[in-house]
Symmetry: C2
Subunit: 440 residues, 2 copies
């Protein structure tokens, strides 16, 4: 089939043979299929979707478009975690060290923040000296030595995904379930992992605003994993309010360190435990999540989780003293409080607006190449359902002279809704999607 | 709105403001919007369609993308005709001269054949010496002097349509009703006409295989015309068998000359009269088609129609003696008959296959730049519903040494279906679509 016929076939809702998908995608990678034909196919996929067979061929082609890491010479199960993105989502930081301290290898390849969501790399880099662009050799060696390594995406893994993502981003073909699923899974599977825990966010601060969409994405990714003989579990979690209190890079590192020291906000602790338990099960360390949780608690209580984080910081060039003394992290010059205009219950938080407010202060990026300020951000002082007094502080802005405080303030004043009735209670953990559609 | 937002808006089924359409299309023409964004928008339009307001803005932008001819200094109504393409459709040749001989100005800008359909320019150029690439000045002068001029599309009229068509052709976005309608109407309206008769073909040899699609296209084009204050009427006509007997360039010129001399196959004569009558009404020469027909008959009988054709041939550099002696046209070296394998009724003709057979002989193009042979083609000897004897000739192939006779023969043997029952009678004229949805 020629490129034209492949586009027409998909456009007309007919399933493509795996060899047609391979020919088209590899032709694009080789420069034989032009951008405009790929743009047309992506838009046709947006409207028509992909069958499971098509999606597997598509994902497989992307993951094989560059280097596929082989970590099989490193003993132990290699389990990663991926979040679809939220506000205040620093879970990867305590989680990776915690799980590694329990004996699972965590080869974590993360991204940077864009728009209203933060990125793990930006958070780590707020630790003075911390390097995230390690070579693959150093990444492997560190994984073998200390059980965890956290780096950025390298150009050698799944280069086709990077090219397709850049194209989708300018032709409005980002919000496609199969294209999102294949992008995440191809990058993760190219890193040579044995298993993956997906944290699929749902709510006002997530890309997926409702649970049905989120479940469909989760099921699609779990099915891709199953077809490729990888252990993949997805957890649907609430993103109708920021996770924890801190939003912003060094503020989130500080909150992560608290979790590793047995403190930290309840929701951050609980989500770390839930995802960590799934990782221990996938890694073969525990037979069930119930069995896994005491192991995680013990690793925190005995200080092993925190020590692993400290060792990783040292190995990646960061200042390890930060771990014992978070005051060494960059700090913003100014603090301003946003207070409640009326008394009542905190009914809702437009969490995406909160993320954008943090971005306006300098904690995130409007464009891929925008600079960020590690020190600035927000600390959220109120939780959904909480009873609020008039004049009570809802959120504190941490800003520096470069921050757009006026815009951030306006967004925040609008984002927190206080009303006479409490909202219905919202659980943090919504569903677990395991292979064959089984749910815990 | 940025190009990205315009694509997203359309993708999500929301109507675009006229200024957004203008910004996108003009940006593309200026090289600011890249091919891949235009490809994505075209595919989104394929799936979502265009509202009447969007379609008007789109068409208007295409027609103003280059020179818009102003023929208002030439006295009389300027009325053109356009066919959506069929097999053996030579109607433009006798029609333009006939209508011009009745006092309507016919500024006809035509295309070349591609695939299974022929093109008016190719037919005219089979007359030795006939030129179709006149300058706009010569086109105007000839229109003023003799009332008819038949030329090819010039690069100065609606250049955006040409660029969009070329892109649609490689991204499988050709078969979109609003994109087809805006392409036809922008080209035609840029030529400075006052009115247009559309021949929308329906059936096995047409792009539209069923009457509902054809009616929708016709109504869309008539509505565009009405919004732009042009008199536009569409006639839906049967294309379940070739028009007349001749398929191929000089063969079709010969059949056209027969019509101008009061002869020719019934269907070619009748369709010429039907479309001609509509053109005389739009041109203000007759109050109704019933009043128009005797005028057309008289122009043929008195020889004025044929004389106008001869004058046009002379004015455009062609050999005028061809008009009186069609044997001067190029003739193929060989004739081969395809005969009926069984007795019965001619039940159906796969007319697209017949067109492809003529193309295989060299009468048409597989690619835009393929050479054609003016001499070769087919003469169809049987009509739908006709009683057929075993061994009776169905079609004659006229070929030259370069012709792919074997392939043409196989296609033709397959295209004619003879069976025990006659098919239901199929009228030549299906519907007339006039402004405000009124039908005759």
């Amino acid at each position: 089939m020629r490129a034209y016929d492949i586009i027409k076939h998909k456009r007309d809702g007919k399933a493509l043979a795996p060899e047609s998908i391979r020919a088209f995608l590899n032709g694009y990678l080789a420069g034989e299929v032009p951008d405009y034909q790929m743009a047309a196919l992506l838009m046709a996929v947006f409207f028509r979707g992909l069958t499971p067979d098509e999606l597997n061929a598509w994902t497989d082609c992307m993951l094989r478009s560059g280097t596929v890491l082989d970590l099989s010479d490193i003993p132990g199960a290699k389990i990663d975690k991926h979040s679809t993105g939220g506000v205040g989502d620093k879970i990867s930081l305590p989680l990776a060290a915690l799980v590694a301290s329990c004996g699972v290898k965590v080869p974590m390849i993360s991204g940077r923040g864009l728009g209203h969501t933060g990125g793990t790399l930006d958070k780590l880099e707020s630790i003075p000296g911390f390097e995230t662009d390690l070579s693959i050799d150093r990444f492997r060696k560190q994984l073998a030595d200390i059980g965890v390594s956290m780096i950025g995406q390298t150009s050698s893994l799944a280069p086709l995904d990077r090219r397709l993502y850049a194209l989708r981003d300018v032709i409005a073909a980002v919000e496609s379930l199969p294209l999102i699923a294949s992008s995440i899974m191809s990058k993760k599977l190219a890193a040579g992992i044995d298993g993956l825990v997906l944290d699929v966010k749902v709510g006002s601060g997530a890309f997926m605003k409702n649970v049905d969409e989120a479940r469909a994405l989760a099921e699609t990714m779990v099915a891709i994993g199953a077809r490729m003989n990888k252990r993949v579990v997805a957890v649907l979690t609430d993103m109708n309010q920021p996770l924890g209190r801190a939003v912003g890079n060094s503020l989130e590192v500080e909150e992560s360190l608290a979790v590793l020291n047995g403190e930290g906000p309840d929701d951050v602790v609980e989500l770390t435990m839930v995802l960590g338990a799934q990782m221990l099960v996938l890694g073969g360390i525990a037979a069930s999540t119930a069995e896994a949780r005491p192991l995680l608690r013990e690793a925190i209580e005995r200080g092993r989780a925190c020590a692993t984080f400290e060792t990783m910081v040292l190995a990646q060039g960061g200042d390890p003293a930060v771990v014992r003394d978070p005051r060494r992290l960059p700090r913003a010059a100014q603090r301003d409080e946003i207070t409640a205009a009326r008394a009542g219950y905190l009914q809702s938080i437009d969490t995406e607006q909160v993320g954008i407010a943090a971005m306006q202060l300098g904690a995130g990026r409007t464009r891929v190449d925008s600079p960020i300020d590690p020190a600035v951000g927000l600390t959220v002082q109120a939780r959904l359902g909480e009873q609020i007094e008039k004049g009570q502080t809802l959120v504190v802005m941490h800003s520096n002279p470069g921050s757009n405080k006026d815009k951030a303030r306006a967004l925040l004043q609008d984002a927190f809704r206080v009303g006479p009735e409490p909202p219905p209670p919202a659980p943090l953990i919504l569903e677990v999607v395991a292979p064959q559609g089984a749910r815990e």
